[in-house]
Amino acid sequence: MDPMTFICVTQFVHGLAYGLLLFLVAAGLSMIFGMMDILNLAHAYIFMLAAYLGYTMTGLLNFWAALLLAPIGVALLGMLIERFMLRKIHPLGHIPELVLTIGIGLILLEFVKWIWGTQSLMLQPPEILSGLLSIGVFRYPVYRVFIIGFSIAVMILMGLLFYKTRFGTIVRAATADAGMVGALGINVPLVYTLFFGFGTWLAGLAGVVVAPFLSVFPGLADQIGFDAFVVVVLGGLGSMSGAFIAAILIGLLNSFGIQFLPTLAPLLTFGLMAVVLSIKPTGLLGERQ
């Protein structure tokens, strides 16, 4: 195989892995916005909290236990936030929600600093996921393959949940007409709380998956939070498939940009966003204004 092909294939896989990781981080954000019309600015901080929880639980138990437990932990937190805070102020429009979630984010930041300190913590992937996988001439880190597989699995899980379960049907119906669903005797507020919990659960999954990939430190939320917003904005507010396409696009643009347009690479994401938003202000697949 000639070197250029080798490089292009490798960069493609890099882009895929990174894009899927971004999707995992942004999925919960996009979903909550799409179904509940809440832009949760604390999302990245919840994600960071999960990364810290993942770090500690991996030390106490193991990575798989962390992957199971940490997301549940933050999902519970998310449900509390929805039940006791967001629900009360939702009727007042968007501005209070945004301000509230900024406030919650700042408190979470101080919380992780208080518990885990200010230093950066680093976690290695579990034995089975470390090392390199060899396929022909390609050698690729197992953990990155795991990220690809895991993200796809989560996506399929989400699809099944929304289109094959009763919960999914109710949620979709509630998005279209909450009043009607409520009239059918379904506890819509409870559905919303569970749904918000599900969104934060996804942030939790992303947090634990990221922990062996990026060093965990109090700036992690800022580091990755903005990218999650870019994915959501670019994909179209509230559109899951849009977010997916946007994440993959950003991933590929990132890796091929670095390879072929190195000086512009850091600005390419913005360039893409500027172009898309100028042509279609609602994002790739967004309909909501």
Partner: protein, 461 residues
């Protein structure tokens, strides 16, 4: 002890100084040619030192303004150097303080939170200078915040020890002010040292990967410039700048591997540096990585022995199995013993040794107070007079404060990481679970001394 005997201004007469050198030299104090030196024998018993519970002295004190980032996501910076300043203060206070203006005074430390923002740094410095009447300023991470502090220091005439910001521009013609002294190696010193080091090694192919902003470009430019000077046959096979706080280094690694260099050069700091080495190693990129800031023992331990083997470190302070002075050995051992008793957050591996930046800042802080001791007063003009052209035999190496641009010049050290390191400190392995610096080479001052900026040459004759 050495401090006690020097009540009079040191450099009043040449005779007196020569006499002092001869009298105190054999006691392990001042080296020939140095104006003063760090005396390990004078160090107090530090067994009661606890950075979590620093005892501020009362009454008439020497006030040191400690300016760092203490809130927000980067608060780790403020935490990291707290043991440094309190250690030195505790030591000196236990000795009874410093004789200034005819009175023994102890050191009090006042915190100022820069939040990492110039405006906040300015405000806090102003508050410390005007309300708390601090005598000295100490700081800080981030060249732009250091600039804000230096401006205020000049305005209120308070000496400012800048031992943490390295931008060359900070002390150039435009930004120089008399009250600011920089003891950290600047961009040029760092890259001269590394380039000189590589001129003695066989490798010729280099890749550069730095952060895409002023600092990263300045470091890379200096490296290219001096590598070309010291090793003209060297070749830069790839040169990339990644955005700050990059998440995925893989695309860069693929690119670098395709260029097939012998050495990867990076000036990244946290968290990029940590992520860079971790992701590089996980992808099977096992190149030697020449770096400045990937020195955090936490990170190195996490990357592990294999991953850290053959990393190349460069600093103005380095331990490992460098031939060490008595003072350095004593400080390393004493600190390490105390570290075992500290509680969170200072119980982490990060504080295990006073190495690299921690050692350097401890040394610089001791230097500051040595200068005060010799000045015998807190009058800033007199402090400047003593410090300019001062030659100080520090805990490790001799440091000279150039009068023209207030930049300290000294020998640098470059070391390669290996494992296991020879046991240097009885009973305490230097690095456990990662490759510590070893094969340390001293880069003599003359190979890593930057020129004095043109416009400042005539400042002091």
């Amino acid at each position: 002890m050495i401090f006690k005997h020097r009540k009079v201004l040191y450099r009043v007469t040449f005779v007196l100084s020569v006499a002092a050198v001869f009298m105190l030299g054999p006691l392990g104090g001042t080296a020939p040619g140095a104006d003063s030196s760090f005396d390990p024998a004078a160090m107090s018993d530090m067994s009661d030192f606890d950075p979590n519970n620093f005892q501020q002295p009362e009454g008439d004190t020497i006030k040191l303004g400690y300016l760092q980032i203490m809130s927000g996501a980067a608060a780790g910076n403020g935490e990291l150097f707290w043991p440094v300043v309190t250690w030195v203060a505790h030591d000196i206070n236990k000795r009874g303080g410093i004789m200034v203006d005819g009175k023994k005074k102890k050191i009090e430390i006042l915190k100022g939170d820069t939040q990492g923002k110039p405006a906040a740094a300015r405000k806090e410095t102003e508050r410390l200078c005007l309300e708390e009447n601090v005598d000295l300023l100490w700081g800080t991470s981030g060249s732009h915040t250091a600039k804000a502090i230096a401006d205020v220091a000049e305005e209120y005439k308070v000496p400012f020890l800048n031992c943490l910001s390295l931008s060359d521009e900070l002390m150039n013609e435009k930004n120089f002010n008399r009250y600011t002294f920089r003891t950290l190696s600047n961009t040029t010193q760092w890259n001269m040292a590394l380039s000189y080091y590589f001129s003695k090694r066989p490798e010729t192919k280099f890749s550069i990967l730095c952060q895409d902003y002023m600092y990263g470009h300045a470091m890379a430019d200096a490296f290219k410039k001096y590598l070309n000077k010291y090793k003209p046959e060297a070749e830069i096979v790839s040169e990339d700048y990644h955005k700050l706080w990059l998440k995925d280094f893989a695309p860069y690694m693929t690119k670098i591997m395709a260029a097939n260099p012998d050495i990867l050069y990076t000036a990244d700091w946290l968290p990029d540096g940590d992520n860079l080495i971790n992701q590089a190693r996980s992808m099977g990129v096992n190149l030697p990585i020449a770096n400045i800031y990937i020195t955090n023992p936490d990170t190195l331990a996490s990357v592990g022995v294999e991953g850290t083997r053959n990393m190349i470190f460069c600093y103005s302070w380095m331990s490992g199995d460098t031939p060490q002075t008595k003072a350095q050995k004593k400080l390393m051992k004493e600190w390490h013993e105390q570290w075992k008793t500290w509680e969170a957050p200072y119980d982490s591996l990060l504080y295990i040794w006073p190495d690299f930046v921690v050692g350097q800042t401890i040394s610089d802080t001791y230097w500051l107070f040595d200068v005060i001791q010799r000045t015998g007063t807190l009058d800033p003009e007199k402090i400047i007079k003593v410090w300019e052209d001062d030659v100080y035999k520090a805990i490790q190496g001799v440091r000279t404060m150039r009068a023209a641009d207030h930049q300290a010049v000294f020998d640098m050290y470059v070391g390669e990481a290996t494992y296991p390191t020879r046991e240097v400190y009885e009973g305490a392995p230097y690095s456990e679970g990662y490759a510590g610096v070893h094969k340390v080479i001293k880069i003599p001052q003359k190979y890593c001394t930057p020129p004095v900026p043109e416009g400042l040459k005539d400042r002091v004759e």
